[in-house]
């Protein structure tokens, strides 16, 4: 089946940031996103997510340009004060027009 290369950005962040991240990711040009509940540990440790509960893992499949915009945005807005990581992967999608 014909597939097209695309990029998947994964952002793992304290759950409190969910609504904000969705808004920001869409502003950068993402057409969709998928979120799963997660928990974990890293180098920052303490966060304020008692009542919000754990982390979220936000994944969004986007073009190269949007991927870059999202990483920039996360780095600028969230890296300093929040427990957040972000990374990029190559994927091959069907129906590429859904993601562009």
């Amino acid at each position: 089946m014909k597939t097209t290369p695309a990029f998947r950005i994964t952002i793992i962040a304290e759950a409190l940031l969910e609504d904000r991240l969705i808004r920001d990711v869409k502003t950068c040009g993402a057409k969709g996103y998928t979120i799963t509940q997660a928990h974990g540990d890293g180098t920052r440790g303490v966060r304020a997510s008692l009542w919000e509960g754990g982390n979220i893992k936000l994944e969004t499949i986007v073009s190269e340009g949007v991927a870059d915009a999202i990483l920039e945005m996360v780095a600028n807005k969230y890296f300093q004060h929040f427990a957040v990581i972000a990374y990029l992967e190559n994927v091959a999608v069907v129906r590429v027009e859904k993601y562009l």
Partner: protein
């Protein structure tokens, strides 16, 4: 009944013991884990139930009886963060943002401490005003707003720190935050549907309330234990603050309640509210409005130190103050 006996009765209530069991679970590394969703559901259940009952009472309360206690509550909500902020800044030498963040938590209120105080009153057959939950709602927001305004006034408006969110967003966040929203919603529903409406849902929202609180405190014990661990790296001054400040606030709350015309039970509960520190609305708002503040401080103090202190020693203490004051008159 003397003070020691009250203390004993409080410490041996199923709720306090459940909290201790939660602490122990973490300390012995038990693999006991309550699902996160239970925490969410119980929080909402407790807040909504408090609201419902309070609303039912409000529907039969005249504003003439109510306005003075309400005013006393608002005074507490505004003055506690002002004082706390200065102490933290000058004596504690904290940064502006950390001082404001902690002040916000102590200026606001803990619904569970409130609830534990109510349970204590009920178990000791202490009468009190039914409209206290409305005061709980009134005390939740002002302290947070005052502390944020303090921070805003002191921070360089051009620094990157203040860019994070406008005060408008904070207001919205506070009033639509789930904790106040559910509590207010419960109050309005209780008020509109009145005592007859409440009667219909009593076997769900009233009768099992204390048992649900017991389960919730088991979970809170587990959370508090891990918060305490984070916090212990922090040290002396803040720990002292987290115990002394509640005692002061609580006593002032009792006195103000007394002069606002509340009964001994009512002044006691207002004192417990004033002495408590927020850990639902507070952290949610602060994390957004002052993300640069260290959560280990404000969560460690409110949840790891002040809450256990109030639950065990604070509540009987505030009651002792209230009944001493009541006896004097």
């Amino acid at each position: 009944m003397d003070a020691l006996e009250l203390l004993r009765l409080n410490l041996l209530s199923p709720m306090v013991l459940a909290f201790v069991l939660g602490l122990v679970a973490v300390w012995v590394k038990s693999d006991l884990k309550l699902p996160e969703q239970l925490y969410t559901v119980l929080s909402i259940y407790l807040l909504f139930a408090i609201g419902l009952k309070g609303g039912g009472e409000l529907s039969v309360t005249s504003f003439a009886v109510f306005w003075k206690p309400l005013l006393a509550t608002l005074i507490l909500g505004v003055s506690i963060p002002l004082v706390a902020y200065q102490i933290l800044l000058r004596l504690g030498r904290l940064s502006i943002v950390d001082a404001a963040a902690i002040a916000a938590h102590y200026g606001s209120v803990s619904a569970v401490t409130f609830t534990a105080a109510l349970s204590f009153a009920q178990a000791q057959n202490i009468e009190l005003e039914g409209f206290m939950p409305a005061l709980l709602a009134a005390l939740e927001v002002p302290g947070i707003v005052v502390a944020l305004l303090l921070a805003r006034a002191s921070l360089n408006p051009n620094s990157s720190q203040s860019a994070h969110s406008g005060m408008g967003e904070v207001w919205r966040e506070l009033f639509t935050g789930r904790s106040l929203f559910v509590l207010l919603g419960g109050l309005v529903i209780g008020w509109l549907s009145g005592k007859a409406g409440l009667e219909q849902v009593k076997p769900f929202f009233v009768d099992p309330f204390k048992g649900a609180l017991t389960l919730f405190l088991l979970e809170m014990g587990m959370v508090a234990a891990s918060r305490l661990r984070d916090f212990l790296k922090v040290g002396g001054f803040l720990t002292a603050f987290a115990i002394v400040m509640p005692i002061i606030n609580g006593s002032v709350g009792v006195v103000l309640g007394h002069f606002a015309g509340l009964s001994v039970g009512g002044s006691f509960v207002l004192g417990a509210m004033a002495g408590s520190a927020s850990y639902i609305a507070g952290p949610a708002a602060i994390r957004v409005a002052l993300p640069q503040a260290n959560p280990a401080y404000y969560l460690g103090m409110s949840l790891g130190v002040t809450f256990p202190f109030n639950l065990s020693l604070g509540i009987p203490l505030y009651y002792a103050v209230a009944s001493a004051l009541g006896a004097r008159v």
